[in-house]
Amino acid sequence: MAQEASSSTSSKTISLKTGDGEIFEIEASAAKQMKTVQRLIDDLGDDITIPLHNVFSKELPKIIEYYKKDITGEITKDFEAEFVKDLNDDEVKVLFLAANYLDANKLFEFLSQNIADRLESKSVEYVRKYFGVENDFTPEEESKLREERAWSFRGIKEDE
């Protein structure tokens, strides 16, 4: 049966299935804020469970929580502070990458700032591990770089 292009009514929910097989419901208006999800809905229809291979049951509920608040216009600085308060750096990273995958811009921008804030006073080694990059400087190159900008290392605990 042919379906008309659906205009999302506020009561319409979409089913999302995570990479680890769990299913979550989200309102259609919230799904609209996630461009990847919206694209999948446009391709697959809104009556089908949308597969999100790259997002898992640990992070999706948190993302849904954010957008539930967003569609009612209730996102405040206080809410955002509370939202990330109990998350460790790795948990924020996972959320950030999921927001990138889902093309959920508002959350993506917010988490970008949160990550920058968290990394600001961290050591070089911590940042390497966090971004998953290797140290590809030679010892001489690295000590030269550190010497040249010694002032920027002041007050930073390099072993954290």
Partner: protein, 271 residues
Amino acid sequence: MMNSLGRRGMEEKYFPHDLIIIQILPRLPVKSLLRFKCVHKSYLYGFGYDQFRDDYLVVSVSNDMTINYGVNSQLEVFSLQDNTWREIEGNFPYFSNTWTDDSPRVGLLFGGDIHWLVAKMAPGEDSSDDVILTFDLMERKLLEMPYPDDFDFVLYDNCALWVFGEFFSLWVSDHVNCSVEIWVMKEYKVHSSWTKTLDFSIEGLSTWYFYPICSTKTGDIVGTDGENVLQKYNGQGQLIEHESYSEDPLDFLVTLYTESLLLLPVDNMQV
């Protein structure tokens, strides 16, 4: 929003480089940025032969991952004949946009050029575009090639340059449809000749991954599942063979080698 989607599932720690450079670093204060210049060098390199000058070259495109009035990578070339590195001046707003984290840093040698998949910083510095970066070994110049026109970045979770048969090619894995696509440039350097020649399902495999490594003379594709199984698909996209090559998944890298014979100099013989 960035094009690169990072690697699906397997490596949660993986953080796409373009996200680091465009989304995170610009939000840091100067003091942190200067410190973080020590974090990582982010480079691309390649090896090739300049037949015009009978010279072997190593090419390096590197930047230190922080933004200082615009991303500008350094282009340096080592020539075996000159036995020295030389920097080539220019504006190179490119950085590695690693779709996989294993070896796209190493450029693909094809058609007398070295190629990489990179991100190019947009003039406004608030976003990046994906392009194919090419180093012409004879002209010793960096050039760009766009991706095929109907390339659907959103659907792809992995992508790499490749040589399929005799063609300059791209393979992509589409995580939504659980499939792999092969695109070839039927005529090298002719943009309109990009064609999707193969689109096959990799569903039903234990992992959802397939990484092409090489193609056979009969047009079959050999690759790995990302863990410890080698697979061969035929030209119609059907799985015709698979073989586990190690007990320990994730502990091996697979590569291709070509045998060749060299005549070694003997006594008064000249090479």
